[in-house]
Symmetry: D2
Subunit: 389 residues, 4 copies
C-alpha cells in the first residue's frame, strides 16, 4: 500500500511526533510572535521532515517522496495538518500538492525532470493561475478570458489572473489559457519577462507562502515545450487535479480541527467558572461532542473518498462526486469545529495569543477555495437528480 | 467475510431487488390503504426473503442466517431499510436484532436452543424490557427499580416496565432486574402468568410489530435457567447489546433516508412550478445536495464503526464510542433528510398518500430510542475530555 | 385600538384563563382519548368562548366579534393558540380566519349578510379552494386550471381542487377560477349540486374541522351574485387574504410553541436522571434557552408585522414582505421549539399520552401551507435584490 | 420621546446620510489602505457628526447629546453601525456607551461634572476594567480577585485586569474591585501612577480605539471621591450597565449586518456565473433571504427590548432577561449574516479589498464579549425554568 515499510498509521504517528516536536514551536512563533513565514523557514522545516522520514507524502518515491496511496495519505496529512504549517514542512500544501499530482499525471518526461523533480523534493515552490477577475473565470471555468495564441516559435499568452496561489517566490506557474483547440495548460517560468507577479491580495488566510497574487501575462512568450501534456486538455487536467486537490485540502484542515478540539478540551479541563470546571458544564460538553461528531464524520468521508480514488482513479465520475460531497461537508464541519473551539476559549478565543483565533480566520477561505459550497452543492444535486430521472 | 459466496455488495443488490419487488407494494398497502402489519404478514414476507436468499443478515449460519460480519451487514441492512418493513422481512429489526446478538453472545447452549434458534429463524418474535416509568430507569440505568429476588426454586421478579418493544405477541421477553448481585437479565416466556402485557403505548412510530408496551411483572416466578448468561452481568450484557443495536438501527434508517431522497428526486424531476421543473430551482437543489451529503456522511460513519466492531469487538471502548458518535449523527441526519424530502414534496409531503409523510413521523423516535442525542453527547464529551486531561 | 374596553393584554389574559379552564381538558380528551373533533364540539366551545367574552378576535363588532386591530389580535391569538383547538373555540382558525378577513374586505353588502355574518358569528364554517392537483396551481398561482365560463344566467365552474381546507361540513366554499377577465373568486354554497366534496386527504394535521379535501367542480352553475367582489380580481383578493392569513397562522402556532415550552419546562423540573434534575443538565437548559429565544423572536416579528398591517394595510407591499419574512421564520421556529420539547420529554415525547408528540406532527404542515418556506424565501430575496439594483 | 424635534426615523435617515458621506470613505481607507484609527481621526469624525446634528445618541441633552430614549436609539445606532467606525463618530461605541449610561445613573454630581461631561461630549475616551486573567473573574463575576483596601486617605487598589476595553489613550478607567463591603466601582484617572496599561491584546477585533489591554493596578491610591456612586454596589451597577450595553452593541452590529447584506446584494446583482446573474441562482437567493430574515428578527428583538427598557427600566428583571435573549440571538444572527455575505462574494469575500472580510473577523468577538452565548443561555434557561416550577 505504501512505498515504505511502515503502515499508514505508523507514519501518521511518526508525523504527529515530528510536528509536535519541530513544527508546533515554530507555529507559535509565527502566530503569536509574528515571525515571518518565508522560504528559508520552509526549507529548514522540510529538511527536518526529511530527517524524520515523513517528507513528501504526496510525492512519488522516485522523486524522494513516500509514494503513498490516497488512503495512506489521509492518515499522514491529517497528522501534518494539526499545525497550520505542518503541511508545508511535509510538502503537501496548496498549490504544490495539486501541482505535483497534476505533473505526475500529465507532464512529459522532460517536464517531469524539469518541473516535477524539484517541486516534489521541495527544492522549489510552484503556483497555479486559474481564477480571473470579473468578467473572467471565477467559479465558472467557461468564462476563461486569458488567451494563448500559437506563433511560429511557440505561444504568446495574454490575460489577467488573480488568486494565483503561491505566485510570489515560486519557480514556475501553471496557467490555463484559451487556445483555438480549447483551454490549455502552460508551464511558465517565473522569470519569464511576460509574467508579472502583482500585489499579494490581502486575503484572510496567511499560511500559503507566496500568497494569493494578482498575475499579469503580457505578451508572455513560451515555447511549444511549455504546453503541459497536450493542447486542448486544460479542462481535463483541471479535473484530474481537482478531486485530489480538494481531498488533500480536507485532510490538512481536518488535522487543524483535531488540534483545535485538543486545545479546547485542555483549556476547559483547566478552567473554573460558576462553581465547576468549564468541562463539567453541559453546554461546553455539547460543543466538545459536536466537535467530535463533526471530526469523526469528516474523517470517515475523507477515507471513503480516498478509497474510491485508489480504486477508480482520481478523474472517475465516482471520485469527483465523492470529493465534492466530502469537500463541502469537511470545509463546513472544520469551520464549525474551529468556531466552537473559539467559543470554548471565551474571550481568549478571539485573542491571537491562542492559536484557535488564528486558525478560525485562516480557515474561512476553505469553504470557498477549490469550489465554493454553493457551486459544489449545485453539481452534487444535478448528479443526483440525473440519476433519478 | 461472509457465510455466503456473495460479496456484501452483491447481497445488498439482491436485497434491494427483493424489497422492491416484494416489500414496497405491501408497504404502500400498509401506509396508504391501512392494511394492518401483523405476524401473518411478517411470516409471509420472511418466507419470500428466505426464498430470495436474503433472510437473516444478523443471524448465525447455524440458525439459518447469513452469518455476515458487521461491515457486510451495513450493505444489506441499508438496502432492507429502504422500506419501513424491509428489516422485518429480513429479520433484522428492533428488538429482535439486538436480542439475537445478545443471545448469541451470552446465552447458555440450552438457552440458545430454546430462544435463539426460533428467534434467528423468524419463527417467533421477542421483546426487551429495560425502560421503566418514572422514577425508574429511563436513560439512566442506575435508577433500575424492577427487582428479582432469589427463592429456593429460582427467582421472583416484580416491577413495572414501559416502552417494552415488541411485547405484544412476542414469544419471550428479556427483562433486566436488580438482584443482590447486581442487575441481571432474565428470559421470561410471554405466557408466564406473572408477566402481563399492558396497553400498547400510543407512540408515533407504528412499524414495530408488537408495539411498545407497558409490561408488569407481578410475582413473576422463573427458574434458575431463566438467568440469561450469568447473574449480575446485566449491565455488561446491555453494553454488549448496545453498540450493535445502535448500529443496525442506523443501517436500517439510513436505508429509509436513501429511499426518501429517491422519492423526492423523482418527484421534483416530474413537477413544474414558476416556469421550470422544481428540480431546476436552486433551493430545491440545495435540499437534494444536503440530503446527499448527510446520507454519504452517515454511511461513512456506519461503515467506519462496523469496521471497528469487527476488529475490536462490539463491547470494546472504541466500538462503543464510535457507535455513540454514529448513532447521534445518523439519527439526526436521517431526520434532516426525511424532513427535506417532505418539504420537496410540498403539500403532498404532509399527506400520507406519499410515503415520506409517514417516514418522517416514524423516524422521530430514532433520535430518542437507544439513547437520546443529549445523553450520547454527554458520554461522547466525557470520553474526549478525559483523553485530554 | 380595540372594540372592547379591555387592553389587548387583558383580553389575552382572559383568553388564557378561558382556554385553560374550558379548552385544555377537551384537547386532552381529543388527543389522548380519541374524542372526535366535530362541529357539535366546536359550537359548544364557541358558546363558552362567547360567555367568556373572548369570542371572535378577528370578527368585526357588527358581526359579534371583538373588532380588534392586528396588534391586539396578536396577543389574543397567541393565548388561544396555546391549545390546538383554542383557535376553533374563538373562531380564529384556518380557513375561516382568512375568509372572514377577505369577505370583510371584498364582499358586497348582500354577500356580507349572507356569508360573512354567519361565518363571523361561528354559526357556520367555510372552505377555501385554491390549490389544484398537478399540473394545476400548487404554489404557483399562474398554473390555475379551474375555469369559470360566463353564461346567460351566471357562470359555470369546472375543475379539480385539493387541499380544500375545511370543505367537509362547510356551508360554502370560496373558489378561485380562471375567467376571460382573469382569475376570479366565487362563493359557492356547499349544497350546490355541481360541487362535490371528495375524500379527506390523509394529512398529518388533524386539527382543522372539515379536513383538507379533494373537491370537484363539475358544471357547477352559480349566479352572477356568486362573484366575490368583482370579476378578475381573484389574484388581488388572494393577496389581500394572504398576509393576514399567514400572520394569524403565526399567532396561533406561536401559542402552541409557548405551551410546548411550558410542558417541557415542567416535565424536566420534575424528573431526575444521572444524579440531578433534568432541568439542571446543561444540554436540557440549552434547549429551554433556544426555545425561549425562538419564541421571543417569533413574537417580536409577529408584533412588528401586525403594526405594519395596521399602519399601511394588509395588501401593502411592506405588509406582504414582512408577513413573508415572519411566516418563514415563525413556522421554522415553532417547528424547532416543538421538536426540542419532544426531545426534552425523552421517550414520552414520542408518545401521544403527552401532547407534545401530537403538537409536533400537527405542526409539520405549517412550513408548507400558505406558502412553503422555499417559495417565500424566493420572493423575499427577489424583493431585497431589486431594492439594491 | 426625543430631545430633538425629529422623529427617530428622521434622525436615523440623517445619520445614514452622514455615515455614507463622511464615514464610509474613511472606513475604506482604514480597512483597505491601512490608515490607522486614532483619536485625531475620531475627533475629526465627531466634529462632523456634531455639525450634522447626529452626535451623541446615548448622551443626555445637558451634555451635548440627543437625549433619546432607547427606542429612538435603536433607529439611530443601527444607521451608525452600518460602518464599523460610525458608532465612534457618533460617540455610541463600547465601552463609552455603557460608561455614559452608568455614570448618568450612578455618578455623584461632581463625578458627572468631571467624568461624564467630557465623555458624553466626546472630549475624552474612557475604559472599563472588569475581566481578570484566570483564576480571576471572567464570565463569572464572583471570582473577582482585584482588591481595594480602605486607608485613612481613601483606597488602595491591587490586581490584574485584561480585556480592559479602550484603556490605551483613555482619560479614565472604571474598575471593579472587591472591598470589605462587597464589589465596588472606582473611577481611576489614567495618569494615576498606580495604574499601568500593559500591552494591547492581539484580539481579532481592531475597531475599538484604545484596544483591549492588560492593565495592572499596583498600590493604586485613589481618594474616597473615586468611589463611583456608593461602596458595595459594584454588582448592582454592573447590572445597570449590562442590559443597555448589550443592547447598544446589538444595535450597532445590526447596522453592520444591514450593510453587509447591501454589499452582498449589489455584488451578486452585478456578477455573472454559469449563464446567469449570481442573483438569479436559487442558492444565492436563499442566502439573501436568510439574511433578510435574520436582520428583521434581530431588529424586532432589539426594538422589543428597547420598549421594555423604556417602560420598566434598564435594571428591571424583564429588561435584563429580554436583553439576554436579544444579545444571544442578535450576536449569532449578525455572525450568520456576515458569513453569508462573505460566501456571496466568493473568493473576494475573504479578501480585505472587500469590507465583508474585515466585518466578519471584527464581529467574531460579539458572541463572547458582554456575555458569551453559553452563559446567556444558561441564565435564560434558569429564569424560564424557575417560572415553571
Amino acid at each position: 500500500m505504501t512505498g515504505t515499510t511502515h503502515s499508514p498509521q505508523e507514519l501518521a504517528e511518526r508525523t504527529l511526533e515530528f510536528v509536535r516536536e519541530h513544527v508546533y514551536p515554530v507555529e507559535r512563533e509565527i502566530i503569536v510572535d509574528g515571525r515571518p513565514m518565508d522560504d528559508a523557514l520552509r526549507l529548514e522545516l522540510q529538511k527536518k521532515a526529511k530527517a524524520a522520514g515523513v517528507f513528501g507524502p504526496l510525492s512519488p518515491v522516485e522523486h524522494g517522496g513516500l509514494g503513498l496511496d490516497t488512503r495512506a495519505q489521509a492518515f499522514v496529512l491529517e497528522a501534518a495538518g494539526t499545525s497550520l504549517i505542518g503541511p508545508l514542512a511535509l510538502n503537501c500544501w496548496a498549490p504544490d500538492d495539486g501541482n505535483i499530482h497534476l505533473l505526475a499525471h500529465a507532464a512529459t518526461p522532460e517536464q517531469k525532470r524539469r518541473y516535477l523533480a524539484p517541486l516534489a523534493s521541495g527544492e522549489v515552490r510552484s503556483s497555479i493561475a486559474m481564477t480571473e477577475p470579473a468578467p473572467g473565470a471565477g467559479s465558472d471555468p467557461s468564462m476563461l478570458r486569458t488567451v494563448a495564441e500559437e506563433t511560429d516559435s511557440g505561444w504568446v499568452i495574454n490575460g489577467e489572473k488573480h488568486f494565483t496561489t503561491g505566485a510570489d517566490g515560486a519557480a514556475f506557474t501553471i496557467v490555463v489559457a484559451a487556445t483555438a483547440d480549447g483551454p490549455t495548460m502552460f508551464l511558465v517560468d517565473q522569470d519569464n519577462p511576460g509574467l508579472r507577479v502583482g500585489r499579494r491580495m490581502p486575503t484572510l488566510d496567511h499560511s500559503v507562502p507566496g500568497g494569493h497574487c494578482a498575475v499579469t501575462f503580457a505578451d508572455c512568450h513560451v515555447g511549444d515545450d511549455a504546453v503541459l501534456g497536450a493542447v486542448g486538455k486544460g479542462m481535463e487536467y483541471a479535473s484530474v487535479r481537482l478531486a485530489p486537490s480538494r481531498l488533500t485540502f480536507c485532510m490538512n484542515w481536518l488535522g487543524l480541527a483535531v488540534r483545535a478540539q485538543e486545545l479546547a478540551a485542555r483549556h476547559i479541563n483547566g478552567r473554573q467558572a460558576f462553581g465547576a470546571r468549564i468541562a463539567d458544564h453541559g453546554m461546553a460538553q455539547a460543543h466538545i461532542a459536536d466537535n467530535e461528531i463533526d471530526i469523526t464524520a469528516a474523517r470517515a468521508l475523507i477515507h471513503g473518498t480516498a478509497a474510491i480514488i485508489d480504486a477508480e482513479g482520481a478523474a472517475s465520475s465516482a471520485a469527483r462526486h465523492s470529493a465534492s460531497v466530502t469537500k463541502t461537508f469537511v470545509s463546513e464541519a472544520v469551520w464549525r469545529v474551529l468556531d466552537r473551539a473559539v467559543q470554548l476559549h471565551g474571550g481568549l478565543g478571539v485573542c491571537e495569543d491562542h492559536l484557535v483565533a488564528r486558525f478560525l480566520v485562516e480557515a474561512r477561505a476553505f469553504r470557498i477555495y477549490e469550489g465554493p459550497s454553493e457551486v459544489l452543492r449545485w453539481s452534487i444535486a444535478r448528479r443526483v437528480l440525473r440519476a433519478h430521472q
